[in-house]
Symmetry: C2
Subunit: 399 residues, 2 copies
Amino acid sequence: MRILESNSRRLMLKGTAAAMSAVGMAGWAKLGFAADAKPLPGYANWKIPGDIIVHSSNTLETKRSAYGSSVITPSDQLYVRNNLPPPDPAILENRDNWAIAISGVGKPVTYTLADLKSMGLETTAMVLQCSGNGRGFFPSKPSGTPWKVGAAGCVIWSGVPVRDVVKAVGGIKAGAKYMTGTGGEVLPQGLDPLSVIVERSLPLAAVEDALLAWEMNGEPISLAHGGPLRLIVPGYTGVNNIKYIKQLSFTEQETKANIMSHGYRITPVGGTAGPDLPSVLEMSVKSWINSPLPEDGVVRAGRVQIHGVAFGGVHAVKGVEVSVDGGKSWSAARFVGPDLGKYAWRQFVFDANLKAGEYQLASRATDTSGAVQPEARFENAGGFNNTSWMDHSVKVSVA
Amino acid sequence: MRILESNSRRLMLKGTAAAMSAVGMAGWAKLGFAADAKPLPGYANWKIPGDIIVHSSNTLETKRSAYGSSVITPSDQLYVRNNLPPPDPAILENRDNWAIAISGVGKPVTYTLADLKSMGLETTAMVLQCSGNGRGFFPSKPSGTPWKVGAAGCVIWSGVPVRDVVKAVGGIKAGAKYMTGTGGEVLPQGLDPLSVIVERSLPLAAVEDALLAWEMNGEPISLAHGGPLRLIVPGYTGVNNIKYIKQLSFTEQETKANIMSHGYRITPVGGTAGPDLPSVLEMSVKSWINSPLPEDGVVRAGRVQIHGVAFGGVHAVKGVEVSVDGGKSWSAARFVGPDLGKYAWRQFVFDANLKAGEYQLASRATDTSGAVQPEARFENAGGFNNTSWMDHSVKVSVA
């Protein structure tokens, strides 16, 4: 298999969008990408093809076997989930001109990205995880992408704290209960805008650690990940981190956009989604093992370093245990590497001595609030928030 | 300018070296890389061309303007300095088979990378910096690459601690004073091997935090950065972190290799290098500003977030001050983002209010041992270890 990749991310970083579209998808066909794999979409064709499962042009998953042990997920392995196709890459041609309207504050204003860059700088490492990560383990097969573990990564964002922006514009208006962010995607013609727009309302508590971010993992944010400007809300699931953010409003009501009122609701199986049901917002404690995996083949008997990731969602992760017998017995694992703060994941390792045989490997994390990762998933129609340690366990053969 | 990039890193990661050499450098010419820039060498053509200064095929520098504010330097921006051309990419075809001989221990042994992976796992973030970084500021123009700030990055490595390996083989032999690592490069024919081999002897203190690493920034180490296996010695300059390591010996004497006996010695200007002079080993406290820079153009008057990086070498960095008047007065800057441990750099920011005019921006770091970054460089014939805050200052116009 020959694999080549046009350098569209670099082009987008530098803003030569015209050149990029001249290359587009043609490169893939020309360069002989394996016919049995769906090609990466043009806006993300700088990802490592062998590390990504392409579900559709708007849903790309990191292979479980691709996760390393070095804390940060490299951009070229990170999952993508778009609720609408990304905007024209031309929006990256002059990043500093990108504008965002701030309303529901003392003094409403429109800032450019250049303005924001002058106002403050903060950097936060956090787990970015799709609300539906783990849906693929639901036997009920909910509609939506059947992600296993790979709609998640731990990445670093830089930008200005939303609280600094709010302070500069006279504070949040009295009576506001929500921070409502609106994405800059182009809406399909002929549809009710509310039925498609990416707009989410979050509790005001989310303001505290939120960023308006222009950098991810040390580079200007790519189009695939919401550049030039993205709302980052650490501890909240992916959909709440609005890409191409063009409006930030402090509102008394939740937006009526379908993605808020009916999408991303915790709905009983067989029930109907609606605004009275709980919304998918904060993440909960979770972990999984990334090595060894069945796809790595037979594991060599003897010492085995079982490793994976653990995070607490809105809380820090405090500890993680590993089981090699499908959850009958547990032993404390050790955290490895730097602690990047409460919203980041930690890598853990358990030094096991395994004789020949079959093993079911599982991990179970605890957060600083005392919450323990549960054995069973919480059943819901949308397949959201799966944290079941049993679902995430793996069976390996040792010889 | 059209910029395209063949995907040779991915190929190397996956081990299809034959396919890679079929592409090789031809891609660059065919795809119209700008004639005014030296092309990236084939083994590193996955780097972002616009972010890299190509000094030669074995010396690639990160542009100062390319550094972001998010702590970790992305692999595709990281500098490269090879003392010999990298080995054939075929060595990455089966990473787990890579062998390293361990000697000068109770029970000498040859381990494969698969063996090492079973023995332990640790992750360390650290500044990787070429011994000659900052040489370009020496008015004496020492021979060697005239690096400014860009032969440095902060990266994350995963591997097995050398101390765990040593323990497994019966400990270091009595009388040994050095840890001597040998690189796996192919030596040029017809030369005395000692005149060219990459082999360095480090004090045994370096064992404590050293790794035999197979992963950098979450991915298997690329050929450009020493994969499949590299000796990582946090706090020591780049050359001491032996790429393609094939032998680790605990020795009573320093190696007689020229790169140890004469190369990388702190030699008085006009003097002759030799084994009695101090070797270039540990790094010292240092910082520099990455934004704003003269190359960014005129800075907008008003609030300006001055940011950069600071590190302590073998110590943690404790604080950093910023001056906007060329060092006449100093103010404390604030650290930004997660602390990745004592060997990592920290990003700092200083929130300045600048009226129209000319400014000389400088930063000055202090480490936990109390050492302060000096104003003047320490003159030496090789242009090593430049930590002068004055050399690293920048002049910007504000309007």
